[in-house]
């Protein structure tokens, strides 16, 4: 199993939730995972019902069987100062740079520096070892930018290595690329069974493959359970349906009766449902054609809370994702 698991997906598909569940699943039975947030939205803290995460690795959950999930919200500016301090012992010079606006420049304006720092920090966590030479984290899960930007984001170091042809940044960029393009890394895409997210997933996988980045799995999120048999039987008479509803205690079956009035709206809802199921079926087909493992996660209708997160994690383990 790859030690760096990158989770991307179109906006609104729940990639942060899936990344968190994956981190939990991977931590199960005594493992330690680090869940990394790069977009500064504090979605992870909200999911784990914790306070906003500082730029610091912090334990946010205990996994079934004694594992631990740590989380880190990477702040580009602090990561830069961190780097300068770590590699060049530039504590005070770093502060001076900040005063000059160099840090602002580097983290907001300069091409890719921000992304270099974010990917670099994640790769550092992947490679970090303790005094006994063991990896500090068994797995690092990254809640990455959305599908539209993921290839560029992960590939930024290639570009930087090309720009800065020598020097520490060049070396650093190359080291990061070595991790990202190796089997140590797997990029998963989260989608829904809807047209636009599926289209974006298909496009995104093409881009990742073209860039030589290792594509992992397709995770279909918020899959709705089937409620009625599809297709809805068409050989049932409305009068019988009205009678059945009436016999269930929903009012009169005669024309204008309360049960009879339910027939049309209920059948309309069934027709919508059928249309949706057919659409989902088609989208599922498109995903299957990608030749990647596809996993489905059920829709948690009550929204995602901690319990729901653990449920998703269990499901991921059952499906062999973690």
């Amino acid at each position: 199993m790859s030690r760096l698991q990158v989770v991307s997906g179109k906006g609104g598909t729940g990639k942060t939730t899936v990344a968190a569940a994956l981190a939990l699943a991977l931590a199960t039975e005594g493992k330690r995972t680090l869940l990394v947030e790069v977009e500064g939205r504090q979605g992870i803290a909200q999911l784990f019902e914790a306070e906003a995460l500082p730029y610091e690795e912090r334990k946010v959950a205990v996994a079934p069987g004694g594992g631990e999930v740590f989380a880190l919200a990477i702040d580009a500016e602090l990561a830069l100062l961190d780097y300068l301090q770590m590699f060049y012992r530039l504590g005070s010079a770093g502060r001076a740079l900040k005063k000059l606006g160099a840090v602002d420049f580097a983290t907001t304006i300069a091409p890719g520096v921000r992304d270099v720092l974010l990917t670099g920090k994640a790769c550092e966590a992947v490679r970090r070892k303790d005094k006994k030479g063991r990896y500090v984290y068994d797995y690092v899960v990254m809640d990455a930018p959305p599908t539209g930007r993921i290839t560029r984001f992960l590939n930024v170091n290639d570009e930087v290595a090309g720009l800065a042809k020598i020097g520490p940044i060049h070396n650093q960029a190359q080291a990061v690329m070595r991790v990202l393009k190796s089997p140590e890394t797997a990029v998963h895409l989260v989608t829904l069974l809807e047209e636009m997210p599926v289209q974006e997933t298909v496009d995104g996988i093409g881009e990742l493959r073209d860039a030589g980045l290792p594509v992992g799995r397709v995770l279909v999120n918020m899959v709705r359970p089937s409620v009625v048999d599809v297709p809805v039987p068409t050989d049932v008479r409305r009068t019988d349906l009205a009678k059945a509803l009436s016999s269930a205690g929903l009012g009169g079956a005669r024309k204008g009766g309360l049960a009879e009035q339910l027939v049309d709206p209920l059948l309309a809802q069934a027709a919508e449902y059928e249309e949706r199921v057919a659409l989902e079926h088609g989208q599922r087909g498109l995903l299957t054609e990608l030749g990647l493992p596809v996993h489905e996660l059920e829709l948690l209708t009550e929204g995602i809370d901690l319990a729901g997160l653990y449920r998703l994690a269990t499901d991921l383990r059952k499906q062999g994702v973690a």
């Binding site: 598909t13 907001t108 091409p111 890719g112 539209g148 800065a164 409620v227 039987p233 349906l241 269930a248």
Partner: protein
């Protein structure tokens, strides 16, 4: 159902008003922002306005739905509009690199422009790393407005980390340009080598030394020549960015916050509303997409589920079909109530036909042989005398399924209502329009028009609580 004090957002007066010149659609990713922008543009054009829609999202499907193969940096006219022909719709997609190149070409002399365009640092900057998109969106909006060819510009905002990053673009640019850092960068290239360094204090020479060490000498030189070459343009850059920012605050601009009735999307919507207020940007209202309704909203999820269970448990089903006297709201019978008198033989009978019906629709009576439309509602049958137990059990099974489906729908409605209430409690002053959920995506102008109709009617879908 609660009393609804939320003001309605009327889209038509907004898009018809000739003084409305810019509409900005913002919202979290995946809530239908771009589609809303396009639908609004189409509606405005068909109501007689000359509209350009600027999208940031490279959604091919959307381009195709407007009959354009692919959108690019040049506004393309959309054909086959309804209406009296007075209006026009143009659509374009922001091409960051192209927009940036155009600025360079327009504002630098040819020699300098070439130097900039060939600079490796410029090339990767303009191709769109984080941040550039926001500047270029602002730049393009400013350009479109300055051309004055359209009387309404509709933009959707970049899918950024925080979708209001574009508001910060001028400020970021300004603080960068005003900063000392840029002078440090420019000094060596401008004055050249050691002579330049003399003017810098020791701290700064450490800085450039450090940067050189970090970035590699060539990279730093690329950056320096880039900054030097751009120097003459930076002033204009900022002036225009500031002007666009002011344009966004001016009367004639309206912001629409787009959301779906989901927790995260509405939380982000609340954030936008607050941020827009802080920036004194004029908010027109909230577009709530993908709202669900039900034609049978008076039947609660709980009652529907209880009734479905009742049907699934044939022992307690009252087979005579007559419950007219039963009072609405009363719970179904518990198994030990006097009503549950169905006899054991009947139960066995029902059970066998249920399995027959579920193994295909072959168990239906002969009267249903050649079904025309296939839709159940087209098959209203006059002779209820042909009742067989197969019909009854099939109907019961279907009814139970429909009731479960309905229960799910009602639960969804309740959830949407809760998330919505949370937003309304925070921002009761924000006008809202709701757009009913569609089962599929938009594929053509008719689909966009349909969304436009839904946007304008703002009717809550039937039964939305």
């Amino acid at each position: 159902m609660t009393l609804d004090p939320v003001p309605a957002l009327n889209v038509d007066p907004l898009i018809d008003d000739p003084t409305t010149r810019i509409i900005v659609c913002c919202g979290a990713g995946g809530v239908g922002k771009t589609t809303t922008a396009a639908a609004l543009g189409l509606r405005a054009a068909e109501r007689g306005r000359k509209v350009v829609v600027l999208t940031i999202d490279p959604a091919r499907r959307l381009a195709q739905s407007m009959g354009i193969d692919s959108l690019d940096n040049i506004p393309r006219r959309v054909k086959d509009l309804d209406g009296d022909g007075a209006g026009e719709l143009h659509a374009m997609m922001l091409d960051m690199k192209r927009t940036f190149d155009e600025i360079v070409e327009a504002h630098a002399d040819p020699e300098r422009a070439e130097a900039i365009l060939n600079n490796p640092f410029y090339q990767s900057l303009s191709a769109g790393f984080a941040g550039t998109q926001e500047y270029m969106a602002m730049e393009k909006l400013g350009q479109l407005r300055a051309r004055d060819e359209w009387d309404l510009i509709i933009v959707d905002t970049p899918p950024s980390r925080s979708a209001l990053d574009f508001l910060d673009a001028p400020k970021n640019l300004g603080s960068f340009l005003d900063g000392k850092f840029i002078r440090v960068l420019m000094a060596p290239a401008k004055v050249g080598g050691r002579a330049g360094m003399k003017f810098l204090n020791v701290g700064m020479s450490v800085m450039t030394g450090t940067l050189g060490k970090l970035l590699g000498g060539q990279f730093l030189k690329d950056v320096q020549t880039f900054v030097a070459a751009m120097d003459t343009m930076f002033g204009g850059f900022r002036t225009r960015a500031d002007a666009t920012y002011q344009l966004l605050q001016a009367p004639g601009t309206a912001f629409l916050v787009v959301a779906a009735p989901e927790r995260d999307a509405l939380r982000e919507a609340a954030y936008f509303v607050e941020r827009l207020a802080a920036e004194e940007m004029p908010l027109a209202g909230l577009v709530l997409n993908r709202v669900h309704g039900s034609g049978a909203a008076r039947l609660s999820a709980e009652r529907a589920l209880a009734a479905a269970e009742n049907l699934a448990e044939p022992r307690i089903v009252d087979q005579d079909g007559g419950k007219e006297e039963r009072e609405q709201g009363q719970l179904p019978d518990s198994p030990d109530s006097p009503d549950s008198t169905a006899d054991a033989a009947d139960t066995a009978d029902t059970a066998s036909t249920v399995s027959a019906a579920s193994s295909g629709s072959t168990a239906s009576s002969g009267s249903t042989a050649s079904s025309g439309s296939g839709r159940p509602d087209a098959r209203v049958s006059a002779d209820s005398s042909a009742d067989t137990s197969a019909d009854t059990s099939g109907a019961q099974q279907l009814a139970a399924g429909l009731l479960r489906l309905h229960a799910e729908r009602m639960q969804l409605l309740a959830r949407e209502q809760r998330t919505r209430d949370r937003f309304t409690a925070l921002h009761p002053e924000v006008p809202v329009t709701e757009v009913a959920a569609l089962p599929g995506d938009v594929h053509d102008l008719a689909g966009l028009r349909d969304i436009g109709d839904r946007l304008a009617s703002g009717d809550r879908p039937a039964g939305a609580a």
